[in-house]
């Protein structure tokens, strides 16, 4: 029988005696002949030839197969409430619905408060309106559109008032600043490393030594465009770009540490950049910085109020010895190997 079926290329095998036919089909389905491993699949999808089908109808289990076919085709999965699922999703997203900055118009609330912090060595070469603040001085500025900027110590912001365009508001920033941006169209803050564009509400930007950019988003959405491309941050996302290497992480703080606990916070930042920030904060000069290995990174915070405490918080944790040369000069002695 088996030989007969093989000779007839199995499915086509028709035998006069009905019991022989059945045996052939049994072989077709049951025996592990590679040609027939898809027979039942073809039957379910209606791809069998009329001959194959006629054979199959004689199969002793044909009726059972038909019944299974019928029952399973009437099955479905428990219902899914798409509307509820979508509203749940909307709550999860919980941000303005468009990357288009234009959507700020649709946003409830008169003011999108944007907090921008930048610490850097960049100086402006242009003679437009430049606002500058001294050591530990806070300076209030009002922009042509009514947005306000509060500069922190040793910061400067350049605004081209002659070219001011309410549909493309631009501020060039160096130092630390707190921005309260009036609702409107595109608002961007330019730094030497990249551009931070307001898509939502609150974020910080921090640039140090022209090669480190830190952006933290506290609310809404922020777009950061650098040579590495565009990154969109949402609430609780932080992005850091150092020497063309970007990293992203999440945080839980609701506002930047320097506005709440008066501390400057870093997450894996080269120590040279932390020192730059320290110098800006206190108007001091740190000498002999080369003695600290350039790949030492600092994670932690330092006080913005007490220099001795701040020095201890940075150098203490890194095992670095230092001394005061004068009121405003600190010399690094050596790094104690741990």
């Amino acid at each position: 029988m088996l030989d007969y079926c093989k000779k007839k290329n199995l499915q086509g095998g028709r035998v006069n005696l009905s019991n022989k036919r059945i045996n052939c089909i049994e072989l077709i389905i049951m025996k592990d002949n590679k040609l027939d491993e898809t027979f039942l699949a073809k039957w379910l999808s209606g791809e069998l030839t009329p001959d194959q089908l006629a054979d199959f109808e004689l199969h002793p289990h044909y009726e059972e197969y038909v019944r299974i076919n019928k029952v399973t085709s009437n099955m479905s999965f428990s219902d899914y409430d798409e509307i509820e699922a979508f509203s749940k999703l909307k709550n999860r997203i919980n941000t303005p619905k468009k990357t288009k900055v234009i959507s700020l118009y649709k946003w409830v609330g008169a003011v999108a408060a944007c907090l921008i912090l930048a610490i850097g060595l960049y100086t402006f070469n242009f003679s437009d309106t430049v606002y500058e603040s001294g050591i530990a001085e806070h300076k209030n500025i009002t922009l042509p559109d009514g947005s306000t900027v509060i500069l922190n110590g040793m910061a400067s912001a350049k605004v081209d008032k002659g070219q001011w365009d309410n549909s493309n508001r631009q501020v060039q920033l160096d130092g630390e600043a707190y921005f309260k941006v009036k609702k409107g169209e595109k608002f961007s803050v330019k730094t030497t490393i990249g551009t931070v564009q307001v898509l939502g509400t609150q974020f910080t930007v921090n640039t140090i030594n022209d090669d480190l950019l830190i952006v933290k988003c506290f609310e809404g959405r922020v777009s950061v465009t650098t040579n590495e491309g565009e990154v969109i941050l949402t609430k609780g996302n932080a992005y850091q770009l150092y020497k063309d290497k970007g990293k992203q992480w999440n945080f839980e703080a609701l506002a930047p540490s320097w506005t709440t606990t008066n501390e400057t916070l870093f997450n894996g930042v080269p120590v040279s950049h932390v020192i730059t920030s320290l110098q800006r904060q206190y108007g001091v000069k740190v000498l002999n910085m080369e003695s600290i290995s350039s790949d030492v990174v600092f994670t932690g915070s330092f006080s913005n109020k007490d220099l001795n405490k701040a020095l201890y918080m940075v150098f203490g944790t890194l095992g670095v010895k230092y001394e005061f040369v004068s009121d405003k000069e600190i010399r690094i002695l050596r790094q104690v190997k741990k």
Binding site: E37, L40, A41, L44, T72, S73, N74, A85, T99, I232
Partner: protein, 174 residues
């Protein structure tokens, strides 16, 4: 970023329509794959949140495969290692197949038969179950299933064949 604003998934309307078009099939696919309805529905949410976050980077034409990829990866990393039994209670019958003119005995027998089939297909080996359910319950073609699971149509057909053989033989055993 090159996407025009109208077709980009960042558009409220586009995003919502995309959700409505894909969510159910994705949820059922994930249920078939992981066997847990709660997990499947959570994964749908997670995948769509991620899609939203990257709406300006994902090409609308490839968004579907992006969505499935994310959900599957998340599912694999979320699913506990101890094998969860497939919850066959989540398989329901269409109302329209109840023929009221039949005798109560017949209906009873019919109901039992259906329960049996459900249990059996829920307990099929993973790959057979996935293919069988996507084909029979989700009414997907073998080609669609092959694309979703990254195997050949022939492989899908073999799994279907094996699955039906097994369902039949186990029905017979009971």
């Amino acid at each position: 970023m090159q996407n025009s604003k109208e077709t980009s998934l960042c558009g409220d309307r586009t995003y919502e329509l995309f959700f409505k078009a894909q969510a159910r099939a994705l949820r059922n696919f994930l249920f078939v794959k992981f066997g847990e309805m709660d997990l499947a529905e959570d994964l749908v949410q997670e995948a769509f949140v991620k899609l939203w976050k990257n709406c300006d980077k994902v090409n609308p034409e490839t968004a579907k495969s992006y969505l499935y990829k994310i959900a599957i990866n998340l599912g694999i990393s979320t699913k506990r290692h101890d094998q969860v039994k497939f919850k066959h209670q989540n398989i329901v019958m269409h109302q329209n197949d109840i023929v009221t003119s039949e005798s109560p005995e017949f209906l009873m027998e019919e109901t039992e038969f259906k329960e049996k089939v459900k249990r059996i297909i829920a307990n099929l080996p993973d790959r057979q179950r996935q293919v069988f359910m996507l084909s029979r319950i989700e009414k997907k073609t073998y080609k669609e299933i092959a694309e979703l699971s990254g195997v050949s149509v022939k492989a899908v057909e073999k799994l279907m064949h094996k699955a039906l053989l097994k369902v039949r033989s186990e029905i017979g055993d009971i």
